[in-house]
Amino acid sequence: MKKIIDVKDLYTQFGANVVHAGLNFHINEGEIYGILGPSGCGKSTVLREMVMLQELSGGSIEIFGQDVTNISYDDAQELRKNWGVLFQGGALFSSLTLYENIALSLQEYTELDKNLISEIVAYKIDIVGLKPKDAYLYPSQISGGMKKKAALARALSLDPKLLFLDEPTSGLDPISAREFDKLILKLRDLLGLTVVMVSHDLKSIYDTLDRAAIIDNKIIVAQGKLDDIISMDNPFIQTFFKADI
């Protein structure tokens, strides 16, 4: 299987506080990979480091074979077009309608004509489960669940092969959360996506993840198939997965 992301000896430090002391894991093409762990273990930090929002203190991260710690501006821009990121709060541009939010990268990066762009946007809006008339609403006019869906549609606007999700189901009601899980699975199959996800939601973890890495106390305490991880003897894993749901 092709490695899409390869993290080697990742080391992160904020001031005197060491967050990661040598993380090693890789993510294969087409899988849904989870980065799990207790609060404050630096899950989101790993995600931010992968999408070049945060500098590493040491080690390297390769995405599509490209080392993101040592990359030229142009290559970085090119790489950014090949992934989509869904932020925890959606991070939709509040001054633009959903339509404009989704169409923005298409308008900036491609030479497609208006009609085709509007059809592409309509398709994206449809696959994430929004209604066409929602397209002309502003982010302040829609609910949290819709914001997540719209943000997902925006993340998918350039047909990326790689999708980063930061707590995709947080802030959603259980029904919407399950719907969102199904949506992620559907999109993975439909668009052949590789998905990297940080999550706390046990149900979502069981339902969607293929493989996962668990970060605890600065290192990866377990990684691999979810079933193998659950049976491991580690205090965090035991409390985390054995919690009643």
Partner: protein
């Protein structure tokens, strides 16, 4: 490595049918070249046979385009055929469906001029009524707090005094000093012509005490504190801090609004006093250098010709200006809606409106004072 695979085409035309085959990767970026090439080769009324056997990958945008192409051919009742060996490409083509987004369908109409005018007028009226209600809330808050002096937020008041007045002394002093210098310098040219050098004192004394110092201070404070009130409270509204405060029983009027208003109202006279002093200092400096009026002569003359009432009139305007600046700044902050642009718009408006309100208030004062003979 990410390689940018190019898309290449071959085509042949026979029996009113275009055979068009593509090789490579068809995606958002290569789609345009495909579109152009096809258009240039396609003749009116000809049939199309698309060969995608050598396509390695396709994305949803291109799939939408090809589906749309098929639709237009079907509509024109022209033959359209598509061959493709690649399972994945076929799958993508199948899963994608053409959707239309029609602006007019959702009642998205451009309003007419009259509609806009009416809407605007009603909006403005509503804002004014809202401001009146806000004014009522503040007044109620004040009365309530005077009855329950213990619940007045002294800590916040002193914090705001430091933030909005003590830290503003420097800039108020500097601005006033410079205006004093400019005023004196400009008028000295005229006064010299008539040999009326000494009248610089009358002119500067009255204009700075009565008008310039209060207005200048108000403008600086409106730009400094009015805008920061709007931005702070607007950001608090976006992050739902205000709602959180309300649910916890911390009335935003008592916690955020009244301390800011009291702080500015208390400190404005002091700021105007600083402005008076530094403005005159600037004037005195120019009078000394340019007109040969010594400091002691300047001060003697000031004492002689400028009545104390001018000074007190200027100082007395302070609390009123302060109230206008603080209340408009906070009111605008509370009007911020749930998006980031709204903070910018409201901050701009708060500064413009508070300066305007201060000037109107000043005009009203001057009419009143003239009529009562002060």
């Amino acid at each position: 490595m990410l390689s940018k695979k190019k898309l290449s085409f071959t085509s042949s035309f026979a029996n009113n049918r275009l055979d068009f085959s593509l090789t490579g990767e068809i995606n958002l970026y290569t789609l345009v070249s495909f579109e152009k090439e096809l258009e240039s080769k396609l003749r009116n009324g000809s049939e199309l046979s698309l060969n995608l056997d050598d396509i390695t990958s396709i994305d949803s945008a291109s799939a939408i385009y090809i589906n749309k192409l098929e639709q237009t051919f079907v509509e024109k009742q022209l033959a359209f055929s598509l061959t493709c060996k690649n399972e994945q490409v076929l799958n993508t083509l199948k899963t994608v469906h053409v959707m239309h987004l029609d602006l007019e369908e959702f009642g998205y109409k451009q309003p007419s001029f009259l509609e806009k005018l009416g809407e605007d007028a009603i909006l403005r009226m509503k804002k004014f009524v809202e401001f009146l209600s806000f004014f009522g809330q503040i007044s109620y808050g004040f009365f309530y707090l005077f009855k329950h002096l213990r619940s007045l937020r002294y800590k916040e008041i002193f914090f705001e005094i430091n933030e909005n007045a003590i830290k503003a002394f420097g800039i108020v002093a500097l601005t006033s000093f410079l205006v004093g210098v400019v005023m004196a310098y400009q008028s000295s040219v005229q006064l010299k012509i008539y040999g009326a050098n000494i009248f610089i004192v009358d002119m500067l004394g009255i204009s700075i005490f009565r008008e310039l110092a209060p207005l200048l201070t108000a403008i600086v404070i409106a730009g400094r504190s009015g805008s920061s009130f709007t931005a702070q409270i607007g950001a608090m509204k976006i992050t739902e801090e205000l709602d959180a405060m309300r649910t916890m029983g911390f009335d935003p009027i008592a916690f955020l609004v009244i301390p800011r208003i009291i702080a500015l109202m208390l400190m404005m006279p002091l700021l105007i006093f600083v402005s008076d002093v530094t403005g005159l200092l600037g004037g005195m400096l120019v009078a000394n250098l340019d007109l040969g009026i010594s400091t002691s002569l300047f001060l003697d003359r000031l004492n002689e010709v400028v009545a104390a009432k001018h000074f007190f009139v200027g100082i007395a305007k302070g609390p009123f200006f302060a109230f206008l600046i603080a209340s408009i700044g906070i009111f605008r902050g509370l009007l911020v809606k749930d998006d980031t642009q709204s903070i910018g718009i409201n901050t701009t408006k708060s500064v413009v409106e508070s300066i305007f309100a201060v000037i109107v208030c000043d005009a009203v004062f001057s009419i009143i004072f003239t009529n009562v003979g002060i």
